[in-house]
């Protein structure tokens, strides 16, 4: 069995599920796509830009994020920020995540 392949597949699935929580949590303040990529990288979470950009757009269409273009600077940038609905969703999902990971830790320690 190719363990590395299986493990990397599982990691990919785990990351896919938690990525939304990460993005929502960072966008409590306005950020543009690449600044979010960098912010996550600074916390040792490496997410590719080609995943973040489409994801932010999807979350915006779901009403969890809002965006606006800032054309005043030399480079026009699209800034994203969490909406009120997004904040409620984030609060609920964070609560679930903490509960779930606590239980998971207990099971893994057994």
């Amino acid at each position: 069995m190719n363990y590395d392949e299986v493990v990397s597949g599982l990691i990919l699935e785990l990351r896919r599920g938690t990525l939304i929580i990460l993005v929502l949590s960072q966008l409590k303040k306005q950020m543009y796509g690449y600044s979010l990529v960098k912010a996550l990288q600074n916390c040792n979470i490496s997410i590719e830009a080609n995943t973040i950009y489409p994801l932010m757009r999807r979350l915006e269409s779901q009403g969890l994020l809002k965006s606006e273009w800032d054309t005043g600077e030399a480079k026009p940038r699209k800034y994203y920020q969490i909406t009120q609905d997004g904040a409620i969703v984030l609060e609920k999902i964070t609560k679930y995540w903490k509960e779930f990971s606590k239980n998971l830790d207990i099971l893994l320690e057994d």
């Binding site: 590719e48 080609n50 995943t51 999807r58 480079k75 699209k78």
Partner: protein, 322 residues
């Protein structure tokens, strides 16, 4: 900083995206590429190599397009239509192959002077053409169903779950399969060897076709419309599995179109073979006017039978759908 390569990359990502998001994604992507190049090169003007490295880092345009196109349906026919599509495709292909082979045999038998290998070759090319057309026809119907989101009631809502149908409301899968098979067989034989519908009137070796073979072959599109309506009606029945409002509306609409095509077809006064009408009328002249009249007005009799069957089917469907 923008150069031709960046423009081409952005174009490759956005060209298939919906118009309302195309420009926005293009601007955002352009900003991302600029940010990545600035990080890589600082104040120095990036070289072609730098641009290539950054674009490779972002990844293939197709992959990125697929991530943006979350609402797009990524296959031609997907769930919940795919299993019914496979079933209908199998029936249609088998019937086309069988019908074409039967037609080739009829042509061989009814034309005694024919050279057999020419008929085999013509059968083979007909079969090939027929199977490809049938495949395209069925695929097109299901692709339209899938992409136009024709609702077949697969959403889940506890409060709106339909009642369990009583025995009379359950649509028989076998009946629909049989109906599709008959429609396809009828269509294939009718347009390839309409002489099969004939009668031996005066001599045991000569069959007089009921219909004018050339006119039948020339009006294939009307027969195709008639067949297509029937097949669509049966596919909807297969998908729904029970009589309901959707089946009722689909049956009424397809039957109206079937009736129009039957009327269009039978109102052609050259559709019947005059030799057949004259021979049969003469044959039954002694038996009385009634039978003779039926044959003399055979096309209207035939149209009447089709319309009667369609009306009966529509009434049956309306009653059972209530």
């Amino acid at each position: 900083m923008k150069n031709d390569l960046v423009n081409r990359y952005i174009y490759a990502v956005t060209k298939r995206l919906p118009n309302n998001m195309k420009d926005d994604v293009a601007s955002e992507l352009s900003g991302l590429i600029e940010d990545m190049l600035t990080e890589r090169c600082g104040e120095v003007v990036p070289t072609e190599k730098d641009i290539c490295i950054v674009l490779n880092e972002i990844g293939s345009p197709n992959e990125l397009y697929e991530k943006y196109d979350v609402d797009g349906k990524k296959c031609l026919i997907g769930s919940p239509y795919y299993s019914t599509y496979k079933l209908v495709l199998k029936i249609v292909l088998v019937c086309v192959a069988f019908g074409m082979t039967l037609s080739a045999l009829i042509i061989q038998i009814t034309t005694p002077n024919a050279i057999w290998y020419e008929n085999v070759l013509s059968w083979f090319s007909m079969l090939w053409f027929g199977l490809i057309s049938a495949f395209a026809f069925v695929t097109l119907i299901f692709a339209v169903f899938y992409h136009k989101g024709i609702n077949i009631g697969n959403e889940f809502d506890l409060n709106n779950l339909p009642a369990v149908p009583n025995k009379k409301q359950v649509l028989s899968k076998k009946e629909s399969i049989f109906e599709i098979a008959i429609l396809i067989l009828f269509f294939v034989i009718f347009i390839t060897a309409p002489q099969i519908f004939g009668a031996i009137v005066d001599s045991p070796t000569r069959i007089i076709p009921i219909f004018n073979v050339d006119v039948i072959k020339g009006t294939w599109y009307i027969i195709l419309l008639f067949t297509a309506m029937g097949v669509i009606r049966e596919i909807i029945k297969l998908l729904e599995g029970r009589y309901n409002k959707r089946v009722m509306i689909a049956t009424i609409i397809t039957n109206i179109f079937s009736a129009i095509s039957a009327f269009w077809w039978m109102s052609n006064d050259k559709i019947m073979n005059q030799e057949f009408i004259l021979s049969v009328s003469a044959l039954f002249a002694k038996e009385g006017n009634f039978i003779s009249n039926i044959f003399a007005n055979f096309q209207y009799f035939f149209l009447g039978v089709i319309l009667f069957a369609l009306v009966l089917d529509t009434i049956n469907c309306i009653v059972k759908s209530k």
